[in-house]
């Protein structure tokens, strides 16, 4: 069994990470009733004998003693990390996994990337190495950060290059939270643009998340729950947004619920690699199946159902609804409409009591309404994991490599251009060592090239499927 | 008195006794009386002698349906077999098939066969009761045996059918190998489990036939019977040995009674067996191979000779020098003579031509006299390698030929399977 290390960078990254660890613990606790440290738990947690002195306390088999997250927490401020360390999850981390500073990146990608990058490179590397050593077979780094801020986008993307150099064999999956248009950080278009170039070049897969979409989903759920449409059928704590309250102070804030969705995304994404199922999907299969060309590695995700009913024996219609929802605009974690764009590839990661025939039926049903690129008319990757998320009987994570991601990038470019034309705040960036104007122009052309690639593909959408002449056998 | 009489009687009975011994020794051997009648060319002796010759000439065929052959067919087989062995008298060969004449000629033919070589020993050896386990002596035929009753296919033959049959043959080869491997495992187990059972120290363990005999009393009886009757034949052969002189003297008189053949009849080659296309073709192909080899040898040795001369030219010609040269020349001569010997003899060391009884040697035990498997394996491996090479050479030759033809055609791309 492989292991993954979560690298959470910046405020956003750490908050999501925190939710993730909370949910991961709950999930494994629910599955692993006997309290035995097994392969599934080992993928995200170490089992440590706390009585042992030093690092030698890792236990590979037997009863769970004390679980430690395979995580590296990085923030250039202390606030969020300190909160975590004082919260209920404090035992899951130890100080050796943390890197903090007190000064903050000032919402400046350049500070995060260039200044702190240089400053903390060795320290970060050392912690990463340490976490890697504690793995049997390290398969993937999950990097979580925002695109708008300074530390997350700057230092987070700096890390990508470091990881690529140091661990070329290990996949780099980035969960990147994109700022909404009403973002309160003025420089976020700069930060996002500069970060995008790094993601283009050094990530294996990027799961773009859009705060606005998360917010919309939460609002809608609240509306449904509060309007009582679902009545008493809604099970307590069965909402995907439910949370034991790892970070108590934010309990009522929408961010909390939003972060929870992202955390669930990561759990579902890795579920088939961690738990048994009749059709397994390892993490390395994700990029293999969903990334047809190296740079087109942005995967639009959607999670369904967002709630479940008390009735565990879901009639097929309910199950089918779950599949339909996954393709609707409302359930995407970025502002995008995959149904009206072009699919390059699509993965369905199903958890719980769902069989291959359910999957087949729904693919057959939904396929006609979807547009696929000419060379991949039937591009589905599917997996069946027998362990459902806590409180659910089944769930679906859909990952789409779809040109619908393009508008997000175009809007980003637009907002960047608006700011950049005025040269607003530019000097904050250029005064950082190693930053030049060309850094910006290169970032723009990198993004433009990406957008162009999507556009080219989009252009084939309305064309008939070309009949490529095959090799002709003489006899 | 009694002794003398017996001696006199003995002299008179010497011939019948010799012939009787011969008869006992031969398969389906006729009574001495038949021989006597044959001398006088009596027709009633002929059928028996045709049968006898058939058995003698094709002892293995005796198990097949050949014994059921019509007399005409029997005669035909006998004649062609005698012919291919080079029997000189054409009178016999000219008898119409299935006729009852010529018992004397048949007697002459039989005697010719007997005089020519160790016929009896061969016959005995061929039918020898096999008590031990042996390496299979199977030879895959390299020519289709007697023309099978082949029916013309209804439709013309597609070349793909040939490929199909070839593929089938490949599967059969592989099945043979698997079965043989299983046989080895089982044999080896039986040998191991019966270690120490054999009365003969050098053997140590039982063979399959011996074990089967113990398991199944009936087959044991059969085996014993077979052995006993073989012993009787062997005794007869030995007796024949002691007495045969008188037979040859008698045969001289038989020969005198028949008229010499006219040369006119003999020289025509119709009944001299046609040297089979196979034999001559084979000779021709060996010739080509040898010529190729000679050419290769010439190519490698000439430059070496030249280089050698150039190098040696400056060297002294002292007696020591010429002595060593002479010694080397002799050594090489001997080595080559040994090499030549190895194919002139019918059996080479390390290559069992006649049945060898397989014996599992015990670990650590003193090795009994015998051929070591490792030695045979070495010889066979070399042979296998050589054959493989020959095959590959032929295949390469074909490949070049085909490539030449294919290369001449534009507009086609030939994609060969990857090299092994």
């Amino acid at each position: 069994m492989t292991q993954s290390v979560v690298v959470q960078v910046g405020q956003c990254g750490n908050q999501i990470g925190c939710c993730f660890w909370d949910l991961a613990l709950r999930e494994h606790a629910a599955v692993n009733q006997k309290g035995i440290y097994d392969d599934a738990i080992s993928s995200f947690f170490r089992n440590v004998d706390t009585r042992a002195v030093g690092d030698g306390g890792s236990i590979s088999k037997g009863r769970i003693s004390s679980l430690k997250a395979r995580a590296v927490l990085i923030d250039m401020e202390e606030g969020v990390v300190n909160e975590i360390l004082q919260g209920p999850l404090r035992d899951v981390f130890d100080s050796k996994q943390l890197i903090t500073d007190i000064s903050g990146s000032g919402n400046n990608w350049a500070v995060g990337h260039k200044v702190f990058g240089c400053l903390y490179r060795e320290q970060i590397l050392e912690k990463l190495r340490k976490s890697a050593e504690q793995c049997d077979c390290l398969q993937c780094f999950f990097i979580i950060h925002s695109m708008g801020g300074g530390t997350g986008s700057g230092l987070g993307t700096f890390l990508l290059k470091v990881l690529e150099d140091e661990f070329p064999e290990v996949y780099r999956f980035v969960t990147a939270v994109y700022p909404s248009s009403e973002d309160d950080v003025i420089t976020s278009p700069y930060n996002s643009m500069l970060a995008m170039k790094e993601l283009n070049e050094h990530a294996d897969c990027v799961l773009p998340i859009d705060n606005q979409s998360l917010f919309d989903i939460i609002s809608k759920i609240d509306l449904v729950v509060n309007s009582g449409k679902l009545g008493s059928a809604v099970k307590p704590k069965s909402l995907i947004t439910s949370n034991m309250g790892a970070v108590k102070k934010h309990h009522k804030k929408p961010f909390d619920a939003m972060n929870n969705i992202v955390a669930n995304l990561l759990l579902s994404l890795t579920s088939s690699a961690r738990f048994e199922g009749s059709l397994n999907m390892d993490l390395n299969e994700i990029s293999m199946n969903l990334v047809p060309f190296p740079k087109l590695h942005y995967l639009v995700s959607s999670l369904t159902p967002l709630y479940t009913l008390a009735d565990v024996n879901i009639p097929p219609r309910r199950l089918d609804q779950m599949f339909s929802d996954a393709f609707s605009k409302d359930h995407q974690l970025i502002q995008a409409d995959p149904r009206h764009s072009l699919y390059l590839a699509c993965a369905l990661i199903v958890r719980g009591n769902v069989q291959i025939s359910d999957l087949r039926r729904n693919i057959e049903r939904l396929k006609p309404a979807l547009q696929f690129v000419s060379w991949n008319q039937e591009g589905w990757k599917t997996s069946l994991c027998s362990v459902p998320p806590v409180g659910h009987s089944h769930s679906l994570l859909a990952l789409a490599n779809n040109t619908c991601v393009k508008p997000t990038f175009m809007e980003l470019r637009e907002r960047f251009t608006r700011l950049y034309k005025k040269k607003a705040h530019l000097h904050h960036y250029l005064q950082v060592d190693g930053m030049e104007e060309s850094t910006f122009t290169e970032a723009v052309s990198s993004l433009s090239a990406l957008i162009q690639e999507y556009s080219d593909l989009d252009a084939t959408k309305s064309l008939p499927v070309p009949d490529v002449p095959r090799l002709s056998v003489a006899l | 008195m009694r002794r003398r009489r017996s001696r006199v009687e003995g002299a008179a009975r010497a011939l019948p006794e010799a012939v009787a011994a011969l008869s006992r020794c031969l398969p389906a051997g006729p009574s001495p009386e038949i021989f006597r009648r044959a001398k006088f060319d009596r027709p009633e002796a002929a059928p028996v002698l045709w049968q006898l010759l058939l058995r003698v000439l094709s002892p293995l065929a005796a198990n097949n349906t050949w014994t059921d052959l019509a007399p005409e067919a029997q005669a035909c087989v006998v004649k062609s077999a005698l012919g291919s062995q080079g029997y000189p008298r054409s009178v016999l060969l000219q008898f119409p098939d299935g006729s009852s004449q010529g018992s004397r000629e048949l007697l002459l033919a039989l005697s010719w066969l007997l005089a020519r070589g160790p016929l009896l020993e061969q016959l005995l050896a061929q039918t020898r009761v096999q008590l031990g386990d042996q390496l299979p002596q199977w030879e895959a035929p390299t020519s289709p045996g007697p023309p099978a009753p082949f029916v013309e296919p209804k439709s013309p033959v597609d070349l793909r059918l040939v490929e199909w049959l070839m593929g089938r043959l490949r599967f059969r080869w592989r099945c043979l190998i698997s079965s043989q491997q299983e046989q080895c495992i089982l044999l080896s187990k039986i040998h191991l489990y019966t270690q120490g059972c054999h009365s003969q120290q050098s053997l140590g363990h039982l063979s399959v036939a011996e074990t089967e005999m113990l398991r199944d009393p009936e087959s044991g009886q059969q085996l014993l019977q077979a052995l006993e009757s073989e012993n009787i034949r062997l005794e007869a052969a030995l007796e024949w040995r002691r007495r045969e002189l008188v037979f040859w003297q008698w045969m001289d008189t038989v020969l005198d009674t028949c008229s010499p053949e006219t040369p006119a009849v003999t020289s025509q080659p119709t009944f001299l067996p046609e040297i089979s296309e196979g034999g001559l073709g084979e000779l021709e192909s060996v010739k080509q191979e040898l010529q190729a080899l000679q050419e290769e040898l010439r190519e490698v040795s000439e430059p070496r000779r030249a280089a050698w001369e150039a190098r040696v030219g400056g060297l002294g010609q002292g007696p020591e020098w010429s002595n060593s040269r002479k010694a080397l020349q002799e050594a090489v001569q001997q080595e080559l003579a040994a090499l030549q010997g190895s194919w002139e003899q019918s059996s080479t060391p390390g290559q069992p031509q006649r049945p060898h009884r397989l014996v599992r040697s015990k670990d650590g035990a003193p090795r009994p006299q015998g051929l070591q498997a490792a030695e045979v394996i070495r010889t066979l491996s070399a042979k296998e390698a050589c054959l493989k090479k020959a095959l590959h050479q032929l295949q390469r030759q074909c490949q070049q030929e085909l490539a030449r033809l294919a290369g001449a055609l534009p507009g086609l791309i030939w994609i060969l399977p990857p090299e092994h």
Binding site: - | P27, G83, R89, A115, E121, V129, G132, L135, P136, A140, P141, T142, G145, L159, R160, E163, L169, L176, E182, C184, L186, S188, I190, T194, Q195, E212, M213, L214, P217, E218, G220, Q222, L223, L227, A237, W248, E261, V265, P273, I275, S276, E282, L283, V286, R304, W308, Q329, L336, E344, H356, D363, I377, L380, L387, L391, C398, A406, G411, L412, P417
Partner: protein
């Protein structure tokens, strides 16, 4: 859906030859396979549990309720008997030859076996129809056994007795349907009398060959030895002279003074020369693989290569002489030398009468390697032969066919597969379409 048909039809004579060759090869392999299978059955049965006694169980045999009409008892019996016959095929063959010599029996089946096995035959209760024999076998066998002469004291000696425990009961030995009824497919669990069962693996070392058999064997080897020594000293000079004289006289009387080599001789020569060619080539390769380190070696190498050349020349000369003799261009005397050589060969294996020599192997693996190699060599001979036949038939066709057309391509593809890949793999021919 495809425009061109990928077929090539062979000319009739070529088709005839190729199909006949391959069919012949297939048949011979099948024969060999059957032979192997028979001996495998015997061996396998030996390694299974020996069931010395099969006293009938009180419960009726389920077999008899068998609904299958194909399992009619008579054919079942015949089948089992057939097996028996096959088991000692070789021995039977010899015996049959002998008994045929006396013109006593003609049918090579069980009846003949029984008839010739004397005392044993009388006690043989196995009858072709099983229904009756079973009753006979179960109830009254012992009586019959005693009444007739038992086949020596065989079974007593099967196992060297080690106290009473291992002593095998003898009376039931030949009861009813013999032990071989349940051959390779018998499972141990199906046996009723576990106490009387044993496997070769456990008690094989306690087996003992019966006394009379041992005697016969030693007499046999003694006789063979005598025969061999008699031949090597040869009979008296007088006998030899008489034989030679007879041969000479016969030859003279036939009016044919010159000797043309016979077909057998030519074939024998060809065989020898082929072997020679192979050995010479091997020797040459060995020599070429040597990298001489000093002048002695270098010189020796040179001499060997030249010597080989000479030997090859001699072989070639021999072939010429033979070919000429066959076409009668040379007087017989020139063949004198080759004749003597050939006669030792085509006259048969002189040594074959010697007592069997031993071939010692140390392990199962070694035995397997040995046997496989032996077979491999035989198969390679066959393969090379087929390769030559295919070359001779197919290459001329390719050269004469109009190149480029579909039949020619089909021919080429099949020929490539057969000639260059041993029929294992194939090539693809693509059209290099300029439109692409």
């Amino acid at each position: 859906m495809l425009g061109v048909k990928g077929n090539y039809l062979l000319p009739a004579d070529c088709a005839h030859r190729l199909v006949a060759e391959l069919q012949g090869a297939l048949d011979s392999c099948a024969d060999r396979q059957r032979q192997l299978e028979r001996s495998l059955r015997v061996s396998r049965r030996l390694l299974q549990v020996w069931e010395p006694a099969r006293t009938p169980s009180p419960v009726p045999e389920t077999k008899e309720e068998d609904p299958s009409p194909a399992c009619a008892p008579s054919s079942q019996d015949l089948e089992e008997l057939e097996l028996l016959t096959q088991a000692l095929e070789k021995a039977v063959r010899v015996r049959k030859g002998v008994s045929n010599a006396g013109q006593r029996d003609r049918t090579p089946t069980l009846t003949s076996k029984a008839a010739t096995s004397g005392a044993a035959a009388a006690s043989h209760p196995r009858a072709p129809s099983r229904g009756g024999s079973r009753v006979l076998g179960t109830r009254s066998t012992k009586g019959i056994q005693r009444a007739t002469a038992p086949p020596k004291d065989y079974p007593e000696h099967r196992l060297r007795s080690k106290g009473d425990k291992t002593h095998v009961r003898t009376q039931d030995q030949t009861t009813g349907y013999g032990p071989d009824l349940r051959d390779q497919q018998m499972t141990p669990s199906s046996a009723h009398h576990t106490t009387e069962l044993f496997a070769l693996k456990e008690k094989g070392t306690l087996l003992q060959l019966p006394e009379d058999f041992r005697k016969a064997v030693s007499r046999n080897s003694c006789l063979w030895a005598q025969l061999n020594s008699a031949r090597t000293n040869d009979s008296t000079d007088a006998t030899r002279a008489a034989k030679t004289q007879f041969l000479h006289k016969l030859q003279m009387a036939s009016g044919c003074s010159s000797h043309r080599p016979s077909a057998t001789e030519v074939e024998a020569h060809a065989r020898i020369l082929r072997k020679a060619c192979m050995l010479l080539r091997l020797r040459m390769q060995k020599e070429l693989a040597i990298a001489p380190t000093d002048w002695m070696q270098e010189y020796r190498c040179l001499l060997t290569l030249e010597g080989l050349q000479t030997v090859v020349g001699q072989c070639l000369h021999r072939i010429q002489v033979l070919q000429a003799a066959v076409t009668e261009q040379l007087p017989g005397e020139c063949l004198a030398e080759t004749r003597t050589q050939a006669s030792s060969v085509c006259g048969g294996e002189v040594d074959s009468a010697c007592s069997p020599e031993l071939l010692l192997y140390a392990s199962t693996e070694e035995l397997q390697t040995l046997a496989t190699l032996k077979l491999q060599v035989a198969l390679l001979h066959q393969q090379i032969h087929l390769e030559k036949v295919l070359m001779a038939e197919l290459l001329p066709l390719i050269n004469t066919q109009d190149p480029g057309g579909p039949p020619w391509l089909a021919l080429c593809r099949a020929a490539y597969s057969l000639l260059c890949e041993g029929g294992e793999r194939f090539l693809t021919v693509l059209r290099d379409d300029p439109a692409d």
